[in-house]
Symmetry: C2
Subunit: 584 residues, 2 copies
Amino acid sequence: MNPYQAPLKDMQFLLEDVFDATSTWQSMPDIADMVDTDTAMAILDEASKISRDLIHPLNRSGDEQGVSHVDGQVKTPDGFKQVYQQFAEGGWVGLCGEPEFDGMGMPKMLGLLVDEMGYSACNSFTLYGSLTAGAALCINAHASDELKSTYLPALYSGQWSGAMDMTEPQSGSDLRTIRTKAVPQDDGSYAISGTKIFITGGDHDLTENVIHLVLAKLPDSNGISLFLVPKITVQADGRLGEPNGVTVGSIEHKMGLKASATCVMNYDNAKGFLVGKPNRGLVCMFTMMNYERLAIGIQGLGSAQAAYQMAAEYAKERTQGLAAGGSPTGASSDPIIVHGDVRRMLLTIRAMTEAGRALSVFTGKQLDLAKYGQNEAKAKASRYVGLMTPVAKAFLTDRGLDSTVMAQQVFGGHGYIRETGIEQLVRDTRIAQIYEGTNGIQAIDFLGRKVTGDNLATLTEFVTEVRADIDTLNATESDKNAVLERFEVLLQTAAYINDNKLNQPALINASAVDFLDAFGYTLYGYYWLLMADKASTNNDADFSAQKVYLARFYIDKLLAKADYHLSQVNQGDSAIMAMPENLF
Amino acid sequence: MNPYQAPLKDMQFLLEDVFDATSTWQSMPDIADMVDTDTAMAILDEASKISRDLIHPLNRSGDEQGVSHVDGQVKTPDGFKQVYQQFAEGGWVGLCGEPEFDGMGMPKMLGLLVDEMGYSACNSFTLYGSLTAGAALCINAHASDELKSTYLPALYSGQWSGAMDMTEPQSGSDLRTIRTKAVPQDDGSYAISGTKIFITGGDHDLTENVIHLVLAKLPDSNGISLFLVPKITVQADGRLGEPNGVTVGSIEHKMGLKASATCVMNYDNAKGFLVGKPNRGLVCMFTMMNYERLAIGIQGLGSAQAAYQMAAEYAKERTQGLAAGGSPTGASSDPIIVHGDVRRMLLTIRAMTEAGRALSVFTGKQLDLAKYGQNEAKAKASRYVGLMTPVAKAFLTDRGLDSTVMAQQVFGGHGYIRETGIEQLVRDTRIAQIYEGTNGIQAIDFLGRKVTGDNLATLTEFVTEVRADIDTLNATESDKNAVLERFEVLLQTAAYINDNKLNQPALINASAVDFLDAFGYTLYGYYWLLMADKASTNNDADFSAQKVYLARFYIDKLLAKADYHLSQVNQGDSAIMAMPENLF
C-alpha cells in the first residue's frame, strides 16, 4: 500500500477558489500580515510530508502494539515519542495558537486541513496534539493572565500536553451529576478529588507534563466549575516541581484508537486552579467544544479520505472478472474499478468526502471570522459557528464510518484482514460518532438549540444566503432547483418542528438525527453546485472535469437521501414514543 | 450484562402463526412423522439453553484469546473443544442432516432458528458447525454413495468437521482463475495441489478430522471440478489413516471472528475424491451456497438480535438526563430509554430484526419445500429459493451491521470499550457482508440472474402472490397501499432495468445494490403488515400490542427508505460509469 498522500490540490481549491481564503484573511487585521495563500500552501505542503513520512508510518504498528499501563506509567507505542517531539518542534501543536504565547497564530481554516492530514495518517497520534491545542484554546479564552503565561507557551511548543476531564462513571452526556470536588485552599488554589473516566491522552510518555482541564463542583454548590490541574506541579519559575495528586487508575481496552491512551484518572487532593468564574465551567468548556467538535468531525473526514485512497488504489490494481460488455483492454481479467458497483462505492466516498471538506473549511472560516472578524461579520460568524458545528461533528463522522465501511467492502475478503489496514480505519473512526457528545446529542443541539432555539432565525438567515448564492452559480436550472427545493422543504420541516415543539415535548429528541441528516445531504448539494462552478474555470482540465463528474454523481445519486430524512421529521413523535418501556 | 436469551416467543409466532409450519411439515411425506410444532418448540427450547449456558460464555474469552497457529497446529481458544463436543453429542451439527446417515432430518425452517441462536451467542463458535453442515449437504447432494457412507455419519455426528475451499490469492469473486490442480490417479482418486486462502475452519483442534471440499482444475481443462479432500485419510473400515498432503500455511489476523480459524491451506499431492461430475464443480458448490448464504444472512440477523438485547437492557438501566417534558417518575435522572433518539435506534433495530427473521424463516421454508415438497409447490419453491437467497444474505447482513453499530451507539462511550462486548458484535458481523460472495455480488446475482434473468417472471409471480396476500390482511387501506404502491414501483423499476440491460451493459452492476435494498425495505413492509395481522389474535395482549407498535414504526419510519433506493435505479448508469479511471 502506498503511503498517504494529502489531497493538496483539493485543499488549495477550497481555500483559494471556493472559500476565498486570501480575501478573508486580508479582512482580519490580527492575521492579515501573517498568512496569505502562498504561506498557506507552503504550510500544507510541509504538513503533507510530515503526515506521510513521519506520522503515517506509526499507524499500523501503533495499532498492533497499543498503549500499555505498567507500574502506574502509560507508555505509547514505539516511535510515538520521537515523532511527537519532531512534530512539536516543527511548531505544529501551536499552529493556531496565540503569537503572544509563542503560538504560530494561523487561522483555523488552514489549521483544520493540517488536522485532516494528521487524522488520515494516524487517528491515534493526531489526537494527542489536537487535545493539547483544544486545552490551550480554553486556557487562552478563560484563564487568568498568570495561568496563561505559565502554561500556554509549553502547551503550544508541545513540551507539555493537554487533556479534558469531564466524564465520570455515572456522568456522561449529563454532566449535572458529576461528583468530583474542588475545595478552596488558603493559597487561592483548589484541592481536587474525584475520578474521571474516558480521558483521552490523560497520561502518556510523549511529554513531561500533562495539563488537565477538570470539571468539578465547589463545596455546597451544584454548579460546575473548571479547573486547571497539572500532572506535575509547576514552580513559580516555570520549572516542574513535585508530582501532583494525579494518578492513572487504568487504561481502557478499546475497539480501535489503540495507540491513544484512554485513561481513568484519579484526583486525590490534587492542586488545581480555577479557570473562568466559579460555577461557569460548562461555558468555559464549550468554548473549546466548538473547536474540538469540529476537530472530531475532521477525524471522520480524514479517515474517509485515507480509506478512499486505499480503496481507489486497490480497485485500480486488483483484477477480478470482466467489465460488463467486455474488457475495455481485451484482458482476461479487468481491474475491479470497471465494475459499476465498485465505482458506486468509490464515487460515494469521494463525493461525500470532498463535500465534507467543504463543510469543514466553511465551518473553520466561521470560527476565524468569529474570532478575528469585525462587527456584524463577526456576529454572524458566531451564529454560523453555533449552527454548523454540530452538523460538522455528526455528519462528518457518520459519513466517515459509512465511507470507511464502504472502502473496506471494495477490498472484499482482504478488507477484513488486519494487515491490509483498512479495517483499522473502521475501528479507529467509530469512536468519533460517540465522543465529544454523541451524534444524537449533536443532532438535538442542532435542532433544539441552534435551529428552533431562535425560532429558525439563524437557519433562515443561512439558507437565504445559500439560496442567493445558488442563483449566481453556473449550473442547470434543474440542478439548482433540485437543491433549492430541498432547502425549501427543510425550512418548512423546521417550521413544523418549531410550531410543535411545545405540544410534543419529545418531538425534537425523536426527530433530531433525521433533521440533521436531511440538512447535511441538502447542504452537500449546494457545495457540489458551488465546487462544480468554481472548478469550471480551473486551468487543469482534468481537475475541472473531475469536479463536474462528482457533482453530477452527487446530484443524481446522493442528494435524494435528504428526502427520506425530511419525510421522517414532519410526522410527529408518536411512532417513536408510543411503545411502553416494558415491551422493549 | 445478562446472558443471551433466545427470542423463543417471536420464533414460535413466526413458525406457527405467520408461516404455518405445522401444515407445511404435514404436507411433506419425508418429514411429516418426524416434526410438529411441539417437537419444534422443544428443540428450540433446548437450543436456547445450550446457546445461553454453553456457547455464549465462550464469546468474550474467545475474542480475547483468539486462535493460534503453533508448530503447524491450529488451536482454538480455551473451552471451545469441550463445548463443541457437547454440542456435537447433542446432535446439533446434524440437526438438518439426512436420517439415512444419522442426521436428525429436521427442516431448515426450524434449523435456521437454531443457527440464529448460535450466531447471537457466539459468531465464531457457530461457524464451525455451520460449515460442517454445509459440507455435508453438498456431499449428500452430489457425492457417490461410497463417499456419503464414509463421510456423512462422522460429519453429522460432529466427530469430523467440514470446510469449503474456493478462494485463492488471485481468485476471489472470479473463480475462473483458480490454479489448484487435480491429477487423476490409478486408484480413481486425484492428487490435489495448490493453495487456498480465507478457509474458514480450515484447521482447528475441535475434531479429529477436517473434510475439505476443494475446487480445482483437471489437467488440460479450464473447467472447475469439486473434490473431497480429508485432512487425514480415511481407511476402508472408516478409521483414520495416514495424514493427507494437507497443511496449514498460516492463519489470518482479522478485524473480528478471532476465535474462528481462517486458514491458508496448502495441498501437496493430497488424496482427493471427485464430487459430482468433472468440470461441474461450481454447480455442486452452489447447492451448498444457497444454504450457506442463508446461514450467513442469519449471522447478521443473530448479531443484530444479540445487539438489540444488550442495547435495550442498557437503555433501561443506564440513567442520564431527564425525559423531555419532565421525568415520568419524578426521578433526578431517567433511564435513557425515555429519550426519543435512543428509542428510535432501539425500534429500528427491533423492527428490522423481526422482519429479518420473517425473511429468514420464509426463505428456509422455501428451501424445505424445494427439497421435500411435491410437484408444482416444489418447483415454485425452487424459484423462490433462487430469488430470496441473495436478498437474505445481503439484506440481513447489511442491516446486521447497521443494527450492531446502532446498538453500540446506545452505549455511548461504553460501547467503544471491549469489555462491554457490543463492539465485538460489530467486528464479528462485519465479515458477513463480505464472505460467501460480497453483498454487491449478491445484488448482481439478484438483479441480473434472478430478477431479469427470466424477464421478471419469478419476481412478478412472487409480488403477485404477496399483493394477493396483502389484500386479505387486517390493516388500514392506507398502510396496505403504502406497501402495495412500492411493490408497483418496484416492478416498474425492474421492467426498466430489464428493458435496458442490453443497451446499457453496466446498468445491472451499477444499480444492483439499490434495487436489492429497495426490494428488502418493501418486503419488510409486507412482513410487518403480515405480522401485525397474525399477532392481532394472539392471546398475549402485550405481545399483540408490541407487534402493532413495531409495525406502526416500520410503516411510518422505515418503509420510506425503499423510495430512495427505487429512485436510484431508473436513472441509467451514466452518473456511475462516466468518470474515467484516471480521475479516481
